[in-house]
């Protein structure tokens, strides 16, 4: 027995009060005269002074009430050893059963469940136990129950999941159960294959002192050969006006022996398209490329499946191939611009007049038609801005840059300003006005509407740009006549790296935007609502943005090609152009697959953009063809979440929609789990207990914090009730006694 606030015990001195009262109340105030106290004084002093206490029962009642009151305030509690004696040494056992997919390797799962059953059967009737199943998350069945049948049922009903091993969540859950437990002995049995990947998450867990942790390792010491399909990439191209996809799968062999003739199959809609033999060296990776297939108009569920080995979960890789991952760009150039559309990834230049540039990222020689820098031009220091002639292709570098890229696939259509049709505008996602002003007439109106309806417009200001006065609201500002920069030209002095276009260049070694030299630009007097994304070192805007209606307009105040600058000759030019077009097209890359354990946010999932999330008619079926609940948000927030627990394809369908659009979501296991290397169980045990595993010597030394013990026992409450009972009895009794004394005949 101990006390939480022992200082209150000092009030025990107050017990003298009732005793004193009992004595004082007998002391008459009147003085009795006596002839001589000669004989009285001979009697020893202590007995002389001692007052007689009457009503012993009353005194005891009062003292007991006071004592209980003081004890209640002192907050007594039983120490753990006392509790242990009372409870007869009952245990609180938490069984942690790993059900991550790596447990499917060999007979690990069967051994793990057998071990768990053994623990449950060994429980005494007084023991309480909880079974926690965990992979990346943790689920507890009935907590702290003595019902062995329900515990066994929980173990028998468990199945391997698709998640990875994370020891943190189950250990934290166990910690909570142990801390809430009143049992004197705490024990944790951790049954797992102890993969290294899950250990780090347990760093912040610390079990109550005295907890005995017994790890049960179900992984064998032998080598664990394992083949896994670690990923797949899709190359798209156009063939006969149809989009084709070529799948390349990557496989890894984590065994110490070379695997030969492994069959790897490409499945489309669960039908095998092609099967190829693969040889993978020991502890190495290999790729296999399948024959291209035509992409259909709907999402195609594609799987790459290797022959089943000891761990089947990582032998298959699912993903979806979506059509239409193409951004159509209409480039309107000067009169000399070739008018034929350029097929993307066309290895042959469509125009022989173009330079034989292989890639914009490589050094591109200046076009022949461009006059070289004239040293004699004395008004210009080093190099001079060039003026494109009528025959110059002002969109050469732009076209080349757009010709590179698979995700998305850019489809540029280059038109001279006089040849643009309304159909061109209708199919375009982004329009680039390359060194031309806004066309007049119906085309100009169509472009304006295009922007206002959500299209993206990129205006590159060159020598020939003339903007109609009634359309100046489209631009972020009013342009001025060209301004030259002296010496070696200007550079970009300010770049808004927080903007989506420049975000990728923000981190170190991600492209140096200060290397391009700008010799001429057109100053821009900005409108207040415009935003400047980049400025030259003299402060003039280099790139400005304005939102018009639902669309965006970007103005690049110098040329896109290399007439007024050498930006197009720099390696950073290609990603810059891609980012500008993607930004204007509001392009979001499709998600080919997700990982088991993730939560799918349909509002943020591009492929599910057509689904009505608020209608309540959404039906989701998991790979096992079972219906899955969708957690819907409110009408205002319009959110829907799906827990992705299984590996395979989830199907989402709006049953009320006329077309019954089907959304496929591919879910793969986390391949970190396929690394079967084990950690030392002792390391994990030491992490959560600070002691060696299975150390039972501390089992009886469990120390719960006194506050916690006292809170659980709440003995003060009973003491208070007892004190009140005594006081009530005392009141009744003292009233009767005083009545009797006042009227002795009563």
């Amino acid at each position: 027995m101990a006390f939480l606030t022992p200082l209150f015990l000092a009030a025990i001195a107050a017990l003298g009060v009732p005793v004193l009262l009992h004595m004082i109340q007998r002391q008459r105030t009147e003085v009795i005269e006596f002839p001589s106290l000669m004989f009285v004084k001979r009697i020893p002093f202590h007995s002389l002074r001692r007052q007689r206490i009457r009503h012993w029962l009353l005194l005891l009642l009062r003292c007991a009430a006071l004592l209980l009151l003081i004890a209640a305030f002192a907050r007594p509690f039983f120490q753990s050893t006392t509790l242990a004696a009372v409870a007869g040494g009952a245990r609180e056992v938490v069984v942690l059963l790993d059900r991550s997919y790596s447990m499917a390797y060999g007979d690990r799962w069967d051994r793990a469940r057998a071990a768990a059953r053994g623990v449950v059967r060994d429980l005494s009737p007084a023991d309480q136990a909880t079974v926690i199943l965990f992979d990346s998350g943790a689920v507890a069945g009935r907590r702290s129950t003595t019902d062995q049948a329900s515990l066994l049922a929980a173990i028998d009903g468990s199945a391997i999941g698709a998640g990875t091993t994370r020891f943190g969540p189950p250990l934290q859950l166990a910690q909570g159960i142990l801390e809430d437990s009143d049992q004197p002995l705490l024990e944790v049995v951790l049954i797992s294959d102890f993969q290294q990947v899950g250990v780090d998450s347990a760093a912040n867990v610390r079990f109550p002192a005295g907890t005995v942790v017994t790890p049960v390792q179900v992984a064998s010491e032998e080598a664990t050969p394992n083949i896994s399909v670690v990923g797949a990439s899709v190359q798209r191209d156009m063939f006969a006006s149809r989009e084709r996809a070529t799948v390349t799968a990557r496989l890894a062999n984590r065994g110490n022996e070379t695997v030969e003739g492994l069959r790897v199959a490409l499945e489309l809609n669960a039908y095998e398209l092609e099967s190829l033999p693969v040889t993978i060296e020991a502890n190495s990776a290999a790729t296999v490329t399948f024959a291209p297939f035509t992409v259909e108009d709907t999402a195609m569920p594609v799987s790459v499946r290797a022959s089943v080995d000891a761990l089947p979960h990582d032998d298959v890789f699912h993903f979806t191939v979506l059509p239409g991952d193409v951004v159509s760009v209409l480039v309107i150039g000067g009169p000399g611009t070739p008018s034929t559309p350029v097929a993307p990834l066309d290895p042959e230049p469509s125009d022989t007049s173009e330079p034989s540039a292989q890639s914009p990222e490589t050094d591109i020689p200046l076009p022949d038609t461009m006059p070289p820098a004239t040293p004699a031009a004395e008004t210009v220091a080093v190099t001079r801005p060039m003026t494109p002639s009528d025959t110059t292709d002002t969109s050469l570098y732009l076209r080349r840059a757009l010709g590179v890229g698979t995700s998305p696939l850019f489809s540029p259509i280059v038109r001279p300003v006089g040849e643009v049709t309304l159909d061109d505008i209708a199919v375009a996602t982004v329009i680039v006005l390359n060194d031309v002003g806004l066309p007049s007439g119906a085309i100009g109106e169509a472009i304006t509407r295009f922007v206002e309806d959500g299209g993206g417009l990129w205006v590159a200001l060159g020598e020939d740009v003339r903007w109609p006065g009634d359309k100046v609201d489209l631009l972020p500002g009013t342009m001025d006549i060209p301004a030259d920069r002296d010496g070696r030209g200007g550079v970009l002095g300010f770049v808004d790296y927080s903007h989506p276009i420049f975000e990728v260049f923000g981190s170190p070694r991600s492209g140096d935007l200060t290397t391009p030299r700008f010799f001429r630009h057109r100053p821009l007097a900005l409108h207040p609502e415009s935003a400047v994304l980049a400025r030259f070192d003299n402060g003039d805007p280099a790139m400005a943005e304005r939102t018009v209606g639902a669309g965006r307009v970007l103005v690049w105040t110098t040329t896109i090609d290399s007439f007024w600058n050498d930006f197009a000759l720099k390696s950073i030019y290609l990603p810059f152009v891609h980012k500008v077009i993607e930004y204007l097209a509001e392009y979001r890359s499709p998600t080919p697959y997700l990982t088991a354990g993730q939560v799918l946010d349909l509002a943020q999932y591009p492929a599910a953009a057509g689904l009505d999330l608020t209608g309540g008619n959404l039906v989701v079926r998991d790979p096992s063809d079972d219906r899955v609940d969708v957690r819907l948000g409110t009408e205002e927030t319009e959110a829907a979440f799906v827990d992705l627990a299984e590996q395979g394809f989830y199907e989402l369908r709006d049953t009320e929609a006329a077309q019954g659009e089907l959304v496929m979501v591919a879910v793969n296991v986390d391949l970190a789990e396929s690394n079967l290397s084990s950690a030392d169980p002792q390391e994990l045990v030491g992490l959560v207990t600070g002691r060696a595993a299975g150390d039972r010597s501390v089992a009886t030394e469990r120390e719960i914090r006194p506050e916690e013990l006292e809170r659980r026992q709440t003995l003060w409450w009973y003491l208070l009730i007892g004190a009140l009972g005594f006081l009530a009895t005392e009141t009744v009794m003292s009233n009767r006694l005083s009545r009797t004394e006042i009227d002795p005949d009563a």
């Binding site: 002391q27 008459r28 003085v31 002839p35 004989f39 002074r49 007052q51 007689r52």
Partner: protein, 304 residues
């Protein structure tokens, strides 16, 4: 309160409280003594005898008036008559009027009880033609009436107006009183004797050694003997004024023992020194007490 102890059938005893209501001391004394004498008229012991004791041969120097001439006539020899005692002896009361005597728990104080006792004894002595006197004392002699055949009234008057107002002590006043008794006297010392037995004896011994016949009347109130108090109270010493908190229940038995030991010790010491001792409880009727005392004295006389 009953006034009839069963040990004295036929005797009519008077409650001291009734006696206290009698205004005159003489009347009260007569009331007690005559009733007492009448009641015991046939009894063979009637006071101190003055009868003839024996003859002895005449010795030169003897008073010739004591020669028995009738015997000389018959025998022709001189004989002197000797008597048992002198008939006209002195009787004095030494009355303790210390403040402790002013205590009474039953309507009569020890002072009053002693007052009646002294009056009775004086009346009895007067009836025997003795000379009576009285000395009152506390820590010193307060008043003194020398023994005389005519001093009965004065003695009663002294008894009547004496008050107990000062602390007392036995030794000094009694020592001083020794000087007053040149002739052998009967001295009745009436007190509550709140002193150690040895001190009491030391105080009365000089009187005894001077040839006086000393009788100690030890008067105590029933409350002093029985200590009948219940509630814890503060007890105040009447003489010193000192207060002591006392739990009577706790010390009653011890107190009774101590008091009884005190009485026994005084009684024994008196017996050893041939001093008469009579314990008087004011609860007991005065005539009954007198009767008891005189009976005892008569026995002693016979023994002697």
């Amino acid at each position: 309160m009953t006034t009839s102890p069963p040990s004295s059938p036929g005797a009519r005893f008077i409650d001291p409280k009734v006696l206290a209501r009698v205004g005159s001391l003489e009347l009260a004394a007569r009331f007690v003594v005559e009733g007492f004498i009448n009641g015991l008229h046939k009894a063979p012991y009637l006071g101190i005898s003055i009868d003839f004791a024996e003859h002895r041969g005449y010795m030169p120097g003897d008073d010739i008036r004591r020669v028995d001439w009738r015997l000389f006539a018959r025998t022709d020899r001189f004989y002197v008559k000797q008597f048992e005692a002198d008939t006209n002896t002195n009787f004095s009361v030494l009355f303790d009027v210390s403040k402790s005597m002013n205590f009474g728990s039953r309507g009569i104080t020890k002072l009053d009880y002693g007052r009646f006792l002294a009056a009775c004894l004086s009346y009895l002595s007067t009836k025997q033609r003795d000379r009576v006197g009285i000395i009152t004392f506390d820590s010193d002699i307060v008043e003194r009436v020398p023994p005389s055949a005519k001093h009965f009234e004065v003695s009663l008057h002294t008894l009547d107006r004496m008050t107990a107002s000062r602390p007392g002590a036995l030794g000094p006043p009694l020592y001083k009183a020794t000087e007053f008794f040149k002739r052998r006297s009967i001295l009745a010392v009436i007190s509550d004797f709140y002193e150690e037995p040895e001190a009491v004896l030391d105080a009365v011994k000089p009187l005894r050694f001077a040839g006086n016949d000393v009788i100690l009347f030890h008067i105590l109130d029933p409350a002093e003997v029985d200590f009948p108090y219940d509630d814890s109270s503060s007890f105040q010493d009447l003489e010193t004024g000192r207060k002591v908190p006392v739990v009577p229940d706790k010390l009653r038995d011890q107190y009774r023992e101590i008091v009884q030991e005190h009485i026994d010790a005084v009684s024994q010491l008196c017996s050893q020194n041939r001093i008469d001792y009579a314990f008087m409880n004011t609860r007991v009727p005065l005539d009954h007490a007198l009767f008891k005392y005189l009976a005892m004295r008569h026995k002693l006389t016979k023994v002697r």
